[in-house]
């Protein structure tokens, strides 16, 4: 028996400030539903039962609340990984090199929507979308061009791809091999989190079960073949963008990660052998203190979860390694230059929260994908934090603050409540299949929006200090010609490749799917034969069918 959720009414998921007539703040309730007091003292720590060893531990020690490295940013500044990609692989390759030449230390590849949805550039459904919000990828040839001249033994590559992550990871390996890198030299992090796509971002293709099984295949394969790859980056990020509170963001991310662990454990592996390669993608917009508490407690809860639920004993495997970044929903279309300042504060939250990796949405992204100038400004924001204002000086600088430690404890409690609610519904997979989480976060998004429109929640430039006139921003121009060039290149590829090899490898993939074998080695062969993303995806679609969205009301 499962509880049937009733109408999700009321004002949920919205921070609330109560003020007196003189604009004095009377009461603060954070988005996660935690009240903030006027001042905090040692008594608050006593009340929440704060215990240094149990709740924090020294940096680099269990439960890692203070960070996963004993020296934090002293030993290594965060990796910067701006989300990059547009047009043809050649255009994207140039942008990658530009960002790296300006000090960026990792890559995070943006794919266009057809690629994310497993459609080739010449598919009629791709019309108008080729190369628009990311790079168009049809085959291994595109990866060869996109990563030409990039030192893949030094630069780790995030691949923002989900439904077809298995295909892109296989393609990445095939490409790296062509450039002479061995499997143990390359580090790729495909996003590969399908449950969050079903909750928020919407780039799903296959039904839940086979989609999770494909994730299981990538984890299993990475464990054996790609020791430096992080096969999954669980994204609380997009769930929060869709309307979740910070507490829900972490609660759902941990439950989703557990669903993927369970998939692989059910295949007979010990969690100890693969969980160390899990990573997370967490959002940074919103109340500064609430985000810092969220990052700190996320590390703790993940470590406890792994230790207690999965019996993990190796410290290294308990690390909550994360990209804390983005912040898209906090940015506004009105007075876009304000987003530069917002971004700086959001990035500060990430730094105070001890992010290993970061990226920042650019100020013009409420309009379109960023110009090089906007992308570089984001990168500079991240560099200034690390190199100018002292964020590398000491580890977890807010530790011991009466307020932050109280809040961190209270966040923990909230996250537990959110997790329990989902578990009572029969678990995260069921809650997503039935649309419960989707309903909840979309309703919250609506409440949030109403609060902004009613002026209850202040957004500078939107409902306060409004200027009226729309600012003139230089925008990234979509080049229609790059779609034509891409389609032309795909036609050439189809002419030049060996049809026999394509047919043979696709047939083998079909067989692997039918026999429920791990598809990864077969995908690598398909990629090497220059099968297209669309062709490989079609094999899966034939076997699995497609996901059906539950109702939102």
């Amino acid at each position: 028996m499962y509880r049937v959720p009733g109408f999700l009414g009321g004002q949920m998921g919205v921070a609330k400030y109560t003020k007196d007539k003189k604009d004095g703040i009377q009461d603060v309730i954070l988005q996660s539903g935690i009240s903030v007091k006027t001042a905090y003292t040692p008594k608050d720590l006593e009340e929440v039962g704060f215990d240094y060893q149990k709740d924090l531990g020294d940096p680099g020690t269990y439960p890692f609340t203070r960070g996963i490295h004993p020296k934090g940013y002293r030993s290594r500044a965060w990796t910067t990984r701006q989300y990059t990609g547009f047009g043809t692989p050649l255009e994207t390759n140039e942008r990658f090199k530009l960002m790296i030449s300006h000090g960026q230390t990792g890559l995070n590849v943006a794919f266009d929507l057809p690629s994310q949805m497993g459609l080739d550039s010449d598919d009629p459904r791709a019309e108008g979308e080729v190369g628009r919000v990311g790079m168009a990828v049809d085959s291994l040839r595109d990866f060869e061009i996109a990563f030409n001249g990039i030192a893949l033994d030094k630069i780790g590559v995030g691949l923002t791809i989900n439904a077809v992550a298995s295909i892109m990871l296989a393609m990445f390996q095939a490409m790296a091999a062509k450039y002479g890198y061995t499997k143990d030299q390359i580090s790729a992090t495909p996003q590969n989190d399908i449950l969050k796509e079903m909750i928020g971002r919407g780039a799903w293709i296959f039904p839940i079960e086979p989609a999770i099984s494909l994730i299981g295949d990538t984890i299993e394969y990475s464990m054996k073949e790609l020791p430096k790859c992080n096969p999954v980056s669980v994204c609380g990020y997009h769930i929060r963008e869709s309307g979740a509170t910070p507490a829900q963001e972490i609660a759902y991310a941990i439950l989703i990660a557990n669903a993927y662990i369970d998939e692989v454990v059910a295949r007979g592996y010990g969690a100890e052998d693969f969980v160390g390669r899990f990573s997370f993608n967490i959002n940074i917009f919103g109340n500064l203190w609430e985000q810092v508490a969220k990052f700190r407690v996320a590390r703790k809860l993940w470590a406890i979860n792994l230790k207690e639920k999965y019996g993990i004993i190796n410290d290294k495997n308990m690390y909550f390694r994360g990209l804390f970044g983005g912040g898209g929903y906090g940015l506004t279309k009105a007075q876009p230059e304000n987003n530069i300042i917002r971004g700086a504060y959001y990035a500060l939250a990430a730094a105070l929260g001890g992010a290993q990796t970061t990226a920042l949405c650019s100020f013009d992204e409420a309009y379109t994908i960023p110009t090089p100038r906007a992308a570089l400004l984001s990168l500079r924001t991240l560099e200034i934090l690390m190199e100018e204002v002292g964020l590398r000086d000491t580890v977890d600088p807010l530790a011991g603050s009466y307020f932050i430690e109280t809040l961190t404890k209270q966040m923990e409690e909230k996250i537990h409540q959110e997790m329990k609610e989902v578990e009572d519904l029969g678990g995260i997979v069921r809650a997503v299949a039935q649309g419960y989480i989707q309903k909840k976060v979309s309703r919250q998004a609506y409440e949030f929006e109403k609060a902004v429109q009613d002026g209850e929640l202040i957004k500078v430039g939107v409902n306060k200090y409004v200027e009226g006139e729309e600012e003139d921003v230089a925008l990234h121009e979509y080049r229609d010609a790059s779609a034509d060039e891409k389609i032309q290149a795909l036609k050439e590829l189809r002419r030049e490749r060996s049809d026999k090899e394509v047919a043979r490898t696709l047939k083998a993939l079909e067989g692997a799917v039918a026999d429920k074998k791990n598809v990864m080695p077969f995908l690598v062969e398909c990629c090497q034969a220059y099968c297209t993303v669309g062709e490989m995806t079609d094999v899966f679609k034939q076997a699995y069918g497609e996901f059906e969205e539950p109702s939102i009301f």
Binding site: G202, S442, F553
Partner: protein, 135 residues
């Protein structure tokens, strides 16, 4: 006749055309229109223009609201308007919201899409627009 139609609830189809899956805006607007007394049908994601027109016909809606964040609003709107004309559904009010740069609004209006509501538009604007334009 006019007063008859006014009395019944306005029926709106909120549609997500194309491949983009960012549906926070679509869902939020769906909630807002519903709270404003309209009957709202949401197509879900990844709809082709053909399936949107089909749904509009099937659900006998008065308004089609498109939510587009991918930048492909011009080609999508053009295709939709053409297909509506082909099917004799010119009377449907088409409105569009999402990531729509100011500079593209004249081109959308030229396509016959009079209600363009870029991100950040208060709910009251499309609600009022629909209420005045559905007679």
């Amino acid at each position: 006749m006019i007063s008859d139609k006014k009395k019944s609830r306005i029926r709106v189809l909120i549609a997500k055309p194309g491949l983009d899956g960012h549906d926070r805006g679509a869902k939020v607007v769906a909630h807002a229109l519903r709270d404003a007394g309209m009957e709202v049908v949401y197509t879900g994601l990844h709809q082709s223009v053909e399936s949107i027109v089909q749904a509009a016909l099937q659900e006998a809606v008065d308004v089609i609201g498109l939510s587009i964040m991918s930048g492909a609003h011009l080609p999508i709107c053009k295709k939709l308007k053409n297909l509506l004309a082909e099917k004799g559904l010119d009377d449907k009010l088409v409105v569009v919201g999402g990531v729509i740069p100011q500079r593209d609004i004249p081109a959308l209006k030229a396509l016959g899409i009079s209600g363009v509501f870029p991100g950040g538009t208060p709910f009251s604007v499309p609600i009022e627009f629909i209420n005045t334009n559905i007679k």
